[in-house]
């Protein structure tokens, strides 16, 4: 009995000590830091020089021209130039909902805004929306055979910037939904912000989406 109590006490003490270490913000691992290397002053200068060279190489990869940054979690689109924010716009991005493809047991559309790095590929004025299949299926309508039946002018705003695979930055009739995840993957803006983005962005302007 005494042995059991002693074991229990040791366990509790161990847990307490580990919790204490954790709550102090100290790393838990016994190999939680990289051991210091020794270097004389020449060695240190060499290391410093190497670090600066590599840091400079990374800096050279950063965009020097304005770039578009999209925060899909908080639904904001920024135009930045180095550290300067040139535009901060409320946006709507992908809803994350799914829609089954009819006649395809495993196929489905996922309405996410793609994440990663893209570039402006097209700059359109008065764009016409060519409604894809999902837009009809979602509404319970039959997919038209004629391309002309897919055209819907006036719903994308005055401008649209394409960044590949059918995704666009465009305007919206539903400005009350800006700030929410409601789209099928495109990025919606109000008219004024869309105009600013259109003016600042060129074909090739990087778009970073997270």
């Amino acid at each position: 009995m005494a042995r059991v109590l002693l074991s229990l006490w040791s366990c509790l003490l161990g847990l307490f000590l580990v919790t204490l270490v954790q709550s102090s913000g100290l790393p838990m691992s016994n190999a939680s830091t990289v051991r210091p290397a020794t270097a004389d002053s020449t060695g240190l200068r060499t290391l410093q020089a190497r670090y600066k060279t590599v840091a400079k190489q990374l800096t050279q990869l950063m965009p020097t021209q304005p770039y578009i940054l999209v925060d899909t979690a908080r639904n904001h689109l920024y135009i930045k130039r180095q550290d300067q924010v040139m535009l901060d716009a409320l946006a709507s991005t992908g809803s994350g909902t799914i829609l089954d493809k009819p006649g395809d047991a495993k196929g489905q559309w996922i309405f996410d805004t793609p994440r990663g790095e893209f570039a402006v590929q097209t700059r359109l004025v008065n764009p016409v929306w060519v409604k894809p299949d999902w837009a009809f299926i979602e509404e319970g309508l039959e997919v038209p055979k004629s391309q002309a039946d897919r055209l819907e002018p006036g719903v994308l705003g005055e401008y649209a910037l394409g960044f590949g695979k059918g995704y666009f930055i465009h305007g919206t009739l539903y400005t009350r939904l800006l700030g929410k995840n409601v789209t099928h993957g495109c990025i919606r803006l109000n008219d004024d912000d869309l105009k600013s983005v259109y003016r600042l962005a060129r074909v090739g302007t990087p778009i970073l989406i997270f």
Binding site: L15, V18, Q22, G25, P27, M28, S29, A31, S32, T33, V34, R35, P36, A37, T38, A39, G43, L44, L47, Q48, R50, Y51, K52, V54, A55, K56, Q57, L58, T59, L61, M62, P63, Y67, L69, D71, T72, A73, R74, S95, G96, T97, I98, L99, D100, I110, R115, G116, E117, F118, A119, E138, E139, G140, K180, N181, V182, P206, L208, I209, F210
Partner: protein, 211 residues
């Protein structure tokens, strides 16, 4: 005029190097610590490879206690780490690719129902989850949920994993267990991280060094 120019050139040559447009990639870096410099340089070299390609990536900076989402070397988003612990930290020198993003319950659109489905939002994201990588490595993300039951489950899971790891080490002397990292962040930040990461996303780890 020549004298003025000479003085100006002399002044420039004596000015501290930091006056030049010197990149400051890692503000927490101790420039007099050789091990810290080596580690920072290693991470930057890896980052250059990632930044050269059109993609976003994640730097878990254990020296500065932050997780940074980056693209092209630019910081896109920053998440503070409250606490961390690691096993096999010395081995964490690779680029790690995320196997899959944390699961989220997506709403399905039913065209027959006619009613619009609620979109997913940050609030739908998990507050505690494991990220599995290739090469094998696990990051366990924890937070402080308001619900005491959730908190107990999270902590219980962490303790269980640790006990198992210690047990296997003590009794079987098995040193082949996976490198792992436990990160504690706020609930919002955990959800933000779960939202941001995508399948195959590259991760880098910057390890802390002794002063």
């Amino acid at each position: 005029m020549t004298l003025f120019s000479a003085i100006f050139v002399m002044f420039l040559s004596l000015a501290p190097v930091s006056w030049a447009a010197e990149p400051e990639m890692m503000p927490s870096l101790d420039m007099t610590n050789p091990a810290a410099l080596q580690e920072a340089t290693r991470v930057l070299e890896e980052e250059i490879k990632l930044a050269a390609r059109p993609q976003t990536y994640v730097l878990i900076d254990l020296a500065a206690n932050v997780i940074v989402i980056k693209g092209r070397g630019v910081e896109l988003h920053r998440i503070s780490i409250e606490r961390w612990s690691a096993s096999h930290l010395v081995q964490l020198t690779s680029q790690y690719r995320l196997n899959e993003r944390p699961a989220v319950n997506r709403r399905k659109i039913d065209p027959a129902a006619g009613a619009e489905q609620d979109p997913i939002s940050l609030a739908d994201m998990p507050t505690a989850f494991a990220l599995q990588f290739s090469p094998p490595f696990v990051v366990q993300v924890l937070s402080h949920p308001d619900n005491p039951w959730q908190w107990t489950l999270q902590r219980g899971g962490t303790w269980w994993r640790r006990l198992r790891s210690w047990g296997s080490f003590l009794w079987t002397e098995d040193k082949s267990s996976l490198p792992s990292l436990d990160l504690t962040v706020s609930v919002d930040q955990a959800q933000s991280l779960a939202w941001t990461v995508t399948e195959n996303m590259p991760f880098l780890i910057r390890r802390p060094t002794m002063p």
